[in-house]
């Protein structure tokens, strides 16, 4: 397990003193310090508007922080000084190209990397089947339900087999059953591949079920209030969901989240 190894050597992402002020004047994040270890499943949990999406986008390299730095100590840097992040990103909205079929949407990352359709076909179909949309390869996004579109978006993030997966509330729009199934699928993928996952959610239960660690965030300005380590072992399944351990972690996390949300009012 990650924590048993030399922590400094396994650090994948190092966020130090990051603040983000938008052009409109909103201070979305302030004083964020966070190190993400390789192989970790880290959830960002917090109320709406506390800067979860902003932080995730900064980590992905979409936009620069107003202060502080985000380092990828283990990545090689290219000529323009950009780290080779090798990430998959799932946006809060499905963000599909409406003019392209499910296949072409999922194929996009490979196409942009210069791969041909033929050599990518197996990987694309595999990714689409993983999210349970095998029968919709030729459909257009318009013909899919909201949850199905989200799954296409997840397949697209998986297709390049990235080492780091950044997901912004990917399952928020899904029904309970699908959500649980995708949670399990995600855990399975994560366990099998040695990936690192950064997962934004506003569900306490989801974050506890999935994560090795939870960063509880508060708002105004966005900050990290608590870091909770969920020490329960994997594989986690239905049995874990009903265990006293799970309940205890949910209780701790809820309390921390409630404190973070209350703190929002006391520190204007």
């Amino acid at each position: 397990m990650a924590e048993q190894l030399d922590a400094a050597a396994r650090q994948l992402i190092e966020v130090s003193g990051v603040a983000k002020r938008y052009a409109g004047g909103t201070l979305a994040l302030d004083g964020i310090n966070l190190s993400v270890a390789e192989g970790e499943f880290l959830s960002l949990l917090g109320p709406s508007g506390c800067g979860k999406s902003t932080l995730l986008r900064l980590i992905a390299g979409l936009g620069a922080p107003s202060a502080g730095s985000i380092d990828w100590p283990r990545a090689t840097y290219d000529a323009s000084g950009q780290p080779d992040r090798s990430i998959g990103f799932v946006f809060q909205e499905p963000t599909l190209m409406p003019w392209a079929t499910v296949f072409d949407n999922v194929f996009l990352p490979l196409k942009l990397a210069g791969k041909t359709r033929r050599e990518s076909e197996a990987a694309v179909i595999d990714a689409i089947e993983k999210v349970g949309l095998g029968g919709f390869v030729r459909s257009y996004p318009r013909q899919l339900s909201g949850g199905m579109r989200m799954r296409v978006s997840i397949a697209r993030a998986l297709v390049k087999r990235p080492k780091v997966l950044l997901m912004d509330e990917p399952f928020a729009a899904l029904d309970e059953i699908t959500r649980m199934r995708l949670n399990d699928d995600l855990l399975e993928l994560w366990a099998g591949r040695g990936w690192t996952v950064l997962f934004v959610t506003h569900s306490v239960y989801e974050s506890v079920y999935l994560s090795t660690r939870i960063a509880v965030m508060g708002a105004r300005p966005g900050h990290i209030r608590d870091l909770i380590r969920v020490t329960a072992p994997y594989p986690r399944n239905e049995a874990f969901r009903t265990s006293p351990d799970y309940n205890e972690f949910c209780r701790i996390t809820s309390a921390s989240l409630r404190a973070a949300m209350a703190g929002k009012d006391s520190t204007p």
């Binding site: 986008r57 992905a60 390299g61 979409l62 990430i87 990103f89 946006f91 909205e93 963000t95 190209m97 409406p98 003019w99 392209a100 996009l108 990352p109 196409k111 942009l112 990397a113 257009y140 996004p141 318009r142 390049k160």
Partner: protein
């Protein structure tokens, strides 16, 4: 179209306007005979069709001349408009330098610059002047619509392309151009009609070159008080305009029907 009406079948869609047209023609014919309207004021439909049948060799030549200028103007406007729009999407400097002049070209009445163009190309190249004038008229909707379309790219999709290291060319080819397509097609629909109007107005103003177009036939018929022939030329012009419009609408439907809201059949 009103929302509450029952769906209208394609056959009805054609049959009803045709029936209305026939009723109007019959009424027109009857009134002209009944009121004994002189044929140089308002000829009866039968006379118009007789004139069309009698003069069709010369009218068809004129139709072809007008059609050729219209098509050439349309395609030149299409090429230049899209090229300039793509260019200005690449660089803000290009955009702000080009646009004012495009607007000036657009707002200056084509009738007013016709004499100037005529002098520039030489009086023995009137068809070139017609082509230039019709192109100027048809150009602006293509440029402004395509520019707007290229800018309307979904921000998250743009981020996604950035994440996967898309080149400028890939972004243009796979993201900006498909986004701009519905806007471009809208522009083409307007432009097709304007190219015809431009070709006709230019011929009114500049006269005809080596061969006489439909506008010239109208002027000529008016001078000779051959009103039935004038109507015949008018009918050919309208038919041409309708055909251009239908072709553009068909193209729009063909390219957009599978994904764009404007061309989707709504199922409820």
């Amino acid at each position: 179209m009103s929302e509450d009406s029952a769906p209208i079948s394609p056959a009805t869609r054609v049959a009803v306007p045709v029936a209305l047209g026939i009723v109007v023609l019959v009424l027109w014919e009857a009134l002209v005979w009944y009121l004994a309207v002189p044929k140089f004021v308002l000829p009866a439909p039968s006379l118009i069709f007789k004139s069309l049948a009698a003069d069709y060799p010369s009218l068809l030549v004129s139709l072809w001349i007008t059609l050729r200028i219209t098509l050439m103007a349309f395609f030149i406007a299409l090429g230049c408009g899209v090229a300039l729009a793509v260019l200005s999407a690449q660089s803000r400097i290009v955009e702000i330098s080009i646009f004012p002049y495009a607007v000036i070209l657009q707002v200056t009445p084509v009738v007013a610059i016709a004499p100037l163009i005529l002098i520039w190309v030489g009086l023995d190249h009137v068809d070139r002047a017609l082509l230039i004038l019709a192109t100027i008229v048809a150009f602006f909707p293509i440029l402004s619509n395509t520019t707007l379309g290229l800018k309307s790219v979904d921000h998250n999709l743009r981020d996604l392309f950035q994440l996967y290291g898309a080149t400028r060319w890939q972004r243009l080819r796979y993201l900006q151009l498909p986004t701009a397509l519905p806007y471009l097609l809208g522009g083409m629909k307007i432009s097709g009609g304007l190219a015809l109007i431009g070709a006709v107005v230019a011929e009114f103003v500049a006269g005809s070159g080596t061969g006489a177009g439909l506008a010239w036939r109208i002027v000529e018929s008016a001078n000779r008080l051959n009103i039935p022939r004038m109507f015949a030329a008018l009918i050919l012009l309208s038919v041409l305009g309708i055909v251009i419009f239908l072709l553009m609408a068909g193209l729009q439907n063909l390219l957009l029907r599978r994904w764009h809201e404007s061309a989707m059949q709504r199922e409820r």
